[in-house]
């Protein structure tokens, strides 16, 4: 019986010729990652294992990105504990303020992850690296601890849904719109425990940044991972960023899928997910009709804080001014992206448009800091979750959208597409 992309990567890392869906295996890990919130728990569990050191100093990654620069004393203490652990363990890939960026933009940028690898991260959006053709999945702190100690993790081999993407997306349709559309289609548990494999002629029109956004939100459909085949674009990305030589896995022709869904990208419109689930999607024309007045816009996060996202936002905001009622917060995902925004003049565009431009942080996405919502307030955000209370007060509202829709909405003062301003 044929295997999917994900199954092939798992089989290889488990030292098996083949695996089947549902099988429990133990696999070798290429990278084990955690952030300031999850590592704080993992280091306690790590100590309980009795391990003297991490399995490989070059394969453990600790990124202090969630509540940094330290948001309060308790967060500072957590970061201090993580920092101490990283130093004690001589972790090579340790990122602190000054070098830190949002983990899922930072790891690909630094060439830490590559095609064909298995990566676990104590952060649910670790599925992002599937854009490169890796099997990458989010786990909890205990799995991170055991991964750091042993270099291994147990997996239940996932079945898969195949998404055949065809056609070329229209001008304002980005990877974010494609994944929101898909989540709207299958629901927040539509891919529960499964892989989402994205294939088809349409993927040639998706930039790496588009693919990162899509793989990033596979978890919002309940998936174990999202994965693209490592095509020339992905291989070139890995090489440009100095990653390990990509290993390419393609699904067998007779691979078994639970479901095959074909999506014509040319038919999609910019898409907005209404509160309080990412599956509550509406195409932009319907969303505009709701005339939702907004108080805040956030452009950033591991989903949409990359340079192409900044480029789209700058293109829309340049020479315009945000609505007087809308606090507009723009957060580049990494220092390199930040610097590029400075060089290209985007920062001036943002500031002149009345937006604030922040240092990299996960901050507002999870209601940490840097843009918390008061009761009744509404935010259009390029982040990934719009659950109850996600960005602040429990009766605040988050509308998920692309950077183009978010920037246009900032100007309009209500949910608006880029063609409506």
């Amino acid at each position: 019986m044929g295997m999917t992309m994900t199954q092939k990567i798992i089989a290889e890392h488990a030292g098996l010729d083949s695996v089947r869906a549902g099988q429990l295996v133990e696999a070798d890990l290429d990278i084990v990652m955690g952030n300031d919130i999850t590592t704080a728990v993992a280091l306690k569990e790590f100590k309980k294992t009795g391990a003297k050191g991490v399995f490989d100093k070059e394969k453990v990654v600790i990124v202090l990105d969630h509540f940094t620069p330290n948001k309060d004393i308790k967060a500072a203490e957590q970061c201090k504990a993580c920092r101490g652990f990283a130093m004690d363990m001589d972790v090579k890939h340790f990122y602190d303020v000054g070098e830190v960026g949002i983990e899922h933009a930072l790891l690909p940028e630094k060439g830490i992850v590559s095609a064909g690898q298995i990566i676990i991260g104590a952060d649910s959006h670790t599925c992002t690296y599937g854009a490169l053709g890796a099997f990458s999945t989010g786990v909890g702190s205990t799995d991170m601890a055991i991964g750091m100690a042993t270099g291994k993790a147990w997996f239940k081999v996932p079945s898969a849904i195949k998404f055949i993407l065809t056609g070329k997306p229209a001008k304002w349709v980005s990877g974010k719109d494609v994944i929101l559309h898909i989540i709207g289609l299958i629901g927040v548990d539509g891919a529960l425990y499964k892989s989402m494999e994205f294939v088809g002629n349409g993927i040639q029109y998706l930039s790496m940044d588009d693919r990162f956004s899509m793989a990033n939100m596979a978890i919002e459909a309940g998936a174990k991972n999202g994965i693209f085949p490592a095509d020339d674009k992905a291989v070139e990305y890995c090489r440009e960023h100095g990653a390990k030589e990509p290993v390419i896995y393609e699904a067998d022709e007779d691979a078994v899928y639970d479901e095959v869904i074909t999506i014509d990208l040319s038919e999609l419109k910019p898409t907005v997910a209404f509160p309080h689930l990412p599956e509550n999607t509406k195409p932009i024309d319907e969303a505009e009709k709701e005339a939702v007045a907004i108080d805040q816009v956030v452009i950033g996060s591991c989903t949409n804080g990359r340079i192409s996202d900044m480029e789209v936002a700058a293109g829309i905001l340049r020479g315009r001014h945000v609505h007087k009622n809308v606090r507009t917060i723009i957060i580049p995902a990494t220092q390199e992206i930040y610097l590029e925004c400075v060089k290209r003049g985007y920062v001036e565009d943002f500031i002149k448009a009345g937006a604030v431009f922040s240092v990299p942080t996960c901050g507002p996405c999870l209601g940490g800091y840097m843009g918390i919502l008061a009761s009744g307030e509404r935010c259009v955000s390029t982040t990934n979750r719009n659950f109850v209370g996600r960005m602040g007060a429990k009766d605040s509202e988050v509308y998920l959208a692309s950077p183009a829709v978010a920037a246009a909405s900032a100007i309009a003062g209500r949910i608006a597409g880029p063609e409506s301003i």
Partner: protein
């Protein structure tokens, strides 16, 4: 091993942001986190929950972030078991790994009502609604996961392998 208690009932897609909002994630002590467990959908939960009580909820329980703080907060609040038709995969994994009992049982999740008195036998997977007298059979765990559960979590399971 069994647990018995009163039922707190919630709907579908209870996410980790409502189980323990991120604003409380600047600490990692389970006892501290338990004080705010479920606060954004049920302000009274943390005050009223008694050791052994049971959460019964709809599908995809624990969706969202990977925060192990979520099952930890539930465990440290004293909850004896969470029963749902399905669990989000990271929450499922985390629960097994930290020894927080969970049961997949669509019929029980649908039938059992808030305030019912329910007991769960972990060795047989039998869920008994003491209030109505009805019993349900939960999905058994694969053998490998049952071993982790029996050892009291992944760290103890792996440590015991080191000793072997």
């Amino acid at each position: 091993m069994t647990t018995e208690g009163r039922v707190f009932k919630y709907g579908d897609n209870v996410d980790t942001d409502v189980i323990i909002p991120a604003r409380y994630l600047n600490v990692s002590s389970g006892e501290e986190l338990a004080k705010y467990c479920m606060i954004d959908i049920d302000e009274d939960f943390a005050k009223e929950v008694q050791p052994g009580d049971i959460i019964v909820a709809g599908k995809n329980f624990g969706c969202g972030s990977s925060r192990e703080h979520a099952p930890l907060a539930i465990k440290c609040a004293g909850v004896g078991c969470v029963i749902a038709p399905s669990f989000a995969r990271i929450f499922y994994r985390n629960s097994i790994n930290i020894g927080m009992p969970i049961m997949e049982c669509p019929e029980a999740a649908e039938d059992i009502k808030a305030g019912d008195r329910v007991s769960v036998d972990f060795s047989t997977g039998v869920i008994t609604n003491i209030t109505t007298g009805k019993t349900y059979q939960a999905e058994p765990f694969p053998e490998f996961m049952q071993k982790i559960i029996d050892k009291g979590g992944l760290v103890k399971y792996v440590s015991s392998q080191f000793e072997d």
